[in-house]
Amino acid sequence: MPGPVETALRNRRAAGGKALVAYVTGGLGDDWTDTVRAVADAGADVIEIGVPFSDPVMDGPTIQAANDRALASGATPTSILDQVRGIDAGVPLAVMTYYNIAFRAGLERFAASLVDAGVSGCILPDLPLEETGPWVEAADDVGIETILLAAPTASDERLSRVCARSRGFVYGVGLLGVTGVRAELAASASIIAARLKQVTDLPVLVGVGVGTPGQAVEASAAGDGVVVGSAVVQRMLDGAGPAGVAELVAEFRAALDAS
């Protein structure tokens, strides 16, 4: 049975729409939980909560800066999940962090702590297909949807295997590179979406390098939607507050709805 993340995204697709997943750095500022709620109200279908890690190799300068600031203010995986428990955003939540955070806690304990906090999904960008075994076992056992990344460098055969093991949706990596806003959408974004659509019925979302509403429209044409991270986090870093961040997310929502 599909979990809450997959169900939400399938519903969006069934209604003829394009899905929007927004990324919010956990522990960034005192009002970050309000931001999560505001982003949900502004039309995000699923919200990724970033749990900061000291060495985020898949992240560019914006998310690194947000991580550093959150960690410096004393945020920990435990404090963030404690706060998540009280959010009640009305949309499914997924945690995005790095494998060592789960490994150090103990995989079963970490999976259970996600359930306990009301989180439905989990993304670990430094855990490639071959290494997912122990984690997905722990996650599957308690119903956490493990969303896998699918990269432009993978063969079609590998993409199929990634899709078969992914839950919730498949996260198509839009370009060769780390997270961050780029002036233009890479051609690889539409290509990875189209390649993934060939091999899976799971919702296909493209993220990394999707930074403007226009790019979101372009990137979601071949697939089922987008993940927007750095653009949202930059707003948080700029001190826009929940309302200011929600305004940006509403722009993405409107552009996707009009497409």
Partner: protein, 388 residues
């Protein structure tokens, strides 16, 4: 026999593996296949051996320290990797990887560096083979290893400053991996130690086994038998695994020496960072703790997975020494033997000196992994102009 190969998944016991973003998995697979093929190709091996001999100056000699042996009460032999071209053991690995990258059709080398020795070696190989080279170095290390920064630039490399985190080796690795995620189509990541995702820990060790083979032969010629103890400093652990590889089948005691402020084996717990599972200095939540060492080359909170394995099965043991002990050892070797060591191998000597009572009468082979030229300016600051 020597050290065994990892499992097909790149595991040494529970340690190792390939924890990289999906984007890099095909590149790691391609590298592994290319390495296996090249290693079995006599033409590649002949080219590498030729460069190691005629360009890098192998074999490096072994020096018996008569003055210092008398002072310490043990029989101390130094494996002279400091005499290699570019001044350290790092060139063994870099020549192997650069030739491999060229064979794979890559035109650019990306590297991280701490002390700058791996960066200099990579820049050197890039100059020799006509490749582009980009080296990431933490801002703190750029400050304390100015000479090597200039050397890399002279050799035609671009040196990029890593500004994040502790602004040392760990952060330079993060930046190099981020570069590689974006540049993987034309770039090879020339990793400088026995760490990272499979096949690096294994491949880099294979490239350094040459120094272990030489050391075993040389020590046997001098001692008439195998040494009682073999010791080396451990950052990621490449010079140590290289020399250990020559002696694992003997009953020689193997001792790795870590800096007190970067003792991954000594004070870490298993974790996953930079591509593999290994002992790691981290807090209760899994955040990596920043290392702190006088030596830029050892200022790293992790360690190569094969060392974690050797520690876990008890085949090697790991000691740690303080910065103050290292400074004394640096001066000691300079004055008694006329050899100015790099700060990294001065760690191994600091342990020998501290534990001299338990080493009394024993034969000790110490891997002198690099020379001290790069550290002279830093030591001048610490010791003052008289060097006393």
């Amino acid at each position: 026999m020597g050290l065994s190969d990892p499992t097909p998944e790149g595991r040494f016991g529970e340690f190792g593996g390939r924890y990289v973003p999906e984007t890099l998995v095909p590149a790691c697979e391609e590298l592994e296949a290319a390495f296996r093929e090249a290693w079995d190709d006599p033409a590649y091996r002949a080219r590498l051996d030729g460069l190691l001999a005629d360009y890098a100056g192998r074999p490096s000699p072994m020096t018996e320290c008569e003055n210092l042996s008398e002072e310490l009460g043990c029989r101390l032999l130094l494996k002279r990797e400091d005499l290699n071209h570019t001044g350290s053991h790092k060139i063994n690995n870099v020549l192997g990887q650069a030739l491999l990258a060229q064979r794979m059709g890559k035109t650019r080398l990306v590297a991280e560096t701490g002390a700058g020795q791996h960066g200099v070696a990579t820049a050197t190989a890039a100059a020799l083979l006509g490749m582009e080279c980009c080296v990431y170095m933490g801002e703190v290390d750029i400050g304390r290893q100015e000479l090597n920064v200039f050397r890399m630039k002279l050799l035609g490399a671009e040196v990029k400053t890593a500004m994040s985190g502790s602004r040392t080796l760990k952060d330079a690795i993060n930046e190099a991996m981020r570069d590689w995620v974006a540049s993987v189509e034309d770039s090879h990541y020339c990793l400088g130690s026995v760490m990272g995702p499979h096949p690096y820990p294994w491949m880099v060790r294979k490239f350094h086994e040459v120094l272990g083979r030489e050391a075993r032969e040389q020590s046997e010629a001098i001692l008439g038998t195998t040494p009682d103890v073999v010791t080396a400093c451990v950052g990621g652990g490449s010079n140590a695994i290289g020399i250990f590889s020559g002696f694992v089948d003997d009953d020689t005691e193997l001792v790795g020496v870590e800096p007190a402020g970067g003792a991954a084996v000594g004070s870490g717990v298993p974790g996953v960072v930079h591509g593999s599972q290994s002992y790691l200095m981290q807090d209760e939540f899994g955040q990596v703790i920043e290392a702190e060492s006088i030596s830029a080359g050892l200022d790293y909170p992790g360690v190569g997975p094969e060392h974690s394995y050797l520690a876990s099965i008890g085949r090697a043991r790991y000691e740690s020494v303080t910065d103050a002990e290292v400074v004394v050892a640096f001066q000691l070797l300079s004055r008694t033997e006329g050899i100015i060591p790099a700060l990294e191998p001065a760690h191994a000597l600091a342990w020998v000196s501290r534990d001299r009572a338990s080493l009394a009468g024993k034969s000790v082979v110490l891997n002198l992994s690099g020379r001290g030229d790069k550290d002279v300016a830093q030591m001048m600051d610490i010791l003052g102009g008289e060097g006393q």
